[in-house]
């Protein structure tokens, strides 16, 4: 269980780092790890006297700053008032395109996922979209998605939004909007660059020396295991409980 806790703590701390500098991040309804990362950034900024961070968690009462119904997140993104968001995907390809619909030929797809949600829209409008998909496997990370729910880059239209990074259980990639592809930034211990190559179905840039994703430092861990777990418990009680039990 302890390594499961370490895995989560690395993801949460990495997300906090990826969010550094933003002032408003929105988090989906069932995304405890992204929410924890955002809460960690908020706590760290408050501790260090840096700019405050606003976190909107969809479906949460406590973290709901919206009063105009379900459309407000989308309008807000269009107004440039949301700096960061998280998207996943049943498939994600090397061009950063994501598929939330299904595999095979549409509409009678072989595997069917829930649907595109707001991805086709938000990917265009939110500057720092973090692709977050824990499963790191060739069936998820494919050369070309079977259905483009949301496209990463569209040279034919000006846009403010798009992918910023891809975070998995094994590694962290940067997305280069000019080149239109991913570059490996770091590998989470105990994985190796070879593990990443083996489990990634798309091509990506790999630096000569691949860094290890840093483990959270002691001060960060103290925040994470204390205040953040308490804050998480309000919105994600089950998740906070398993994190606490792992301690």
């Amino acid at each position: 269980m302890s390594s499961e806790r370490e895995r989560r703590e690395i993801l949460i701390a990495t997300i906090a780092d990826l969010l550094d500098g933003i002032s408003h991040v929105a988090v989906g309804a069932s995304s405890p790890i992204p929410a924890a990362g955002a809460m960690l950034l908020r706590a760290r900024n408050a501790r260090d006297g840096k700019a405050p961070v606003r976190i909107s968690i969809l479906g949460s009462q406590q973290h709901n700053f919206f009063t105009n119904g379900g459309i407000e997140l989308f309008d807000c993104a269009a107004q440039g008032r949301v700096d960061a968001f998280f998207l996943g995907g049943g498939q994600i390809d090397g061009q950063g395109n994501i598929n939330l619909v299904g595999t095979g030929d549409y509409p009678r797809t072989g595997v069917r996922w829930p649907g595109s949600f707001g991805s086709a829209y938000l990917y265009h409008l939110i500057p720092r979209v973090i692709l977050f998909r824990e499963e790191h496997s060739p069936r998820v990370f494919v050369p070309k998605v079977d259905f483009v729910s949301a496209r990463a880059i569209t040279p034919e239209v000006r846009r403010r939004g798009g992918p910023y990074a891809l975070l998995t259980n094994m590694a962290l990639f940067d997305f280069d909007r000019e080149a239109g592809g991913f570059a490996l930034r770091s590998v989470h211990p105990p994985f190796t660059p070879a593990d990443i190559r083996e489990n990634t179905g798309f091509a990506y840039e790999e630096p000569e020396v691949v860094r290890e994703t840093p483990r959270p430092d002691t001060a960060t861990l103290a925040l994470l295991r204390g205040r953040i777990l308490d804050e998480l418990a309000e919105t994600y009680p089950a998740f906070a409980r398993t994190m606490k039990q792992a301690a």
Partner: protein
């Protein structure tokens, strides 16, 4: 003016072949009315999920009540994928109109404003544009050159949802769940179930009025205690997660679904 009727009479106002708009699980879903609809043998609905659905859509799909489905997603959330939706997509049991959340709101907004279409940001590059020939990419007719997606108006025949309370005039408390108002503005008729009817005028003070859908938009109201069960109703009760998980497990097979549906319908009858 708004009529206050029995739950069965409310359900009887939805006719086969109509388009029916329903809200997302967390907004207030009329599950008791859904049971009454299924009990009455509703068929051929054109379901519009605003902007996604879960248990309600999956039940309607599994019971064979749906001819077409417009949605941005169907999912049971924490309980996983929606099994009858997934099976129905594979078997081609209904016409599927995949969308993206703000496009459904944009379509409703066009109906609210009496215009045939609504422009919407983003979307360009998505394969949704290929599977939604009713959506167009146009050059903006004003300002600097820019491509914009436009989507047609969505005017549901009926909107159906569940709320905590209404007053005797038919004003419905929706709090800050303004997506329910968006539904009602766009729909030709709006049917609402509530936990209770209150004697005070919900429009009386500025604060309470702010969270009210006026009776002007509400055609009929029926009382349905715990009417969103097993889903949550904001400010009232949480979701019955165990029941939803039970559904998710049983509905994996056609027989399991039938067994669940039968229990669900008889449960609703006991409550009524």
């Amino acid at each position: 003016m708004t009529e206050i009727v029995a739950l069965e009479a409310l359900a009887a106002r939805v006719a086969p072949g109509q388009s029916l708009a329903i809200p997302v699980d967390s907004s207030g879903v009329a599950m008791a009315a859904t049971a009454a609809l299924l009990e009455a043998g509703i068929r051929d609905l054109r379901l519009i999920c605003v902007p996604i659905s879960g248990l309600q859509a999956d039940l309607l799909i599994g019971a064979g009540a749906i001819a077409s489905l417009e949605t941005s997603a169907v999912s049971l959330g924490e309980a996983g994928g929606a099994p009858r939706f997934t099976a129905g997509v594979k078997s081609g049991a209904f016409t599927l109109r995949d969308s993206t959340c703000p496009a459904i709101y944009a379509g409703l907004l066009a109906a609210q404003k009496g215009v045939p279409f609504m422009p919407i940001a983003g979307i360009i590059g998505s394969d949704l544009l290929g599977v939604r020939p009713d959506w167009q990419v146009i050059d903006s007719p004003v300002g600097e050159a820019r491509k914009v997606v436009v989507v047609p108006a969505i005017s549901p025949d009926v909107a159906l949802f569940h709320a905590p309370e209404a007053d005797r005039a038919g004003n419905v408390r929706i709090g800050r769940h303004r997506e329910l108002a968006n539904l009602a503005y766009a729909a030709k008729r709006t049917l609402v179930t509530v936990e209770r009817i209150v004697d005070r005028n919900l429009l009386e003070s500025e604060d309470s009025a702010a969270g009210v859908l006026p009776s002007l938009y509400v055609d009929a109201i029926a009382i349905a205690a715990r009417g969103a069960w097993p889903l949550a109703l904001w400010d009232e009760y949480p979701a019955d997660e165990a029941e939803i998980a039970r559904y998710a497990a049983m509905a994996r097979s056609e027989e399991g679904f039938r067994a669940y549906l039968s229990t669900f319908l008889s449960h609703r009858k006991q409550v009524a």
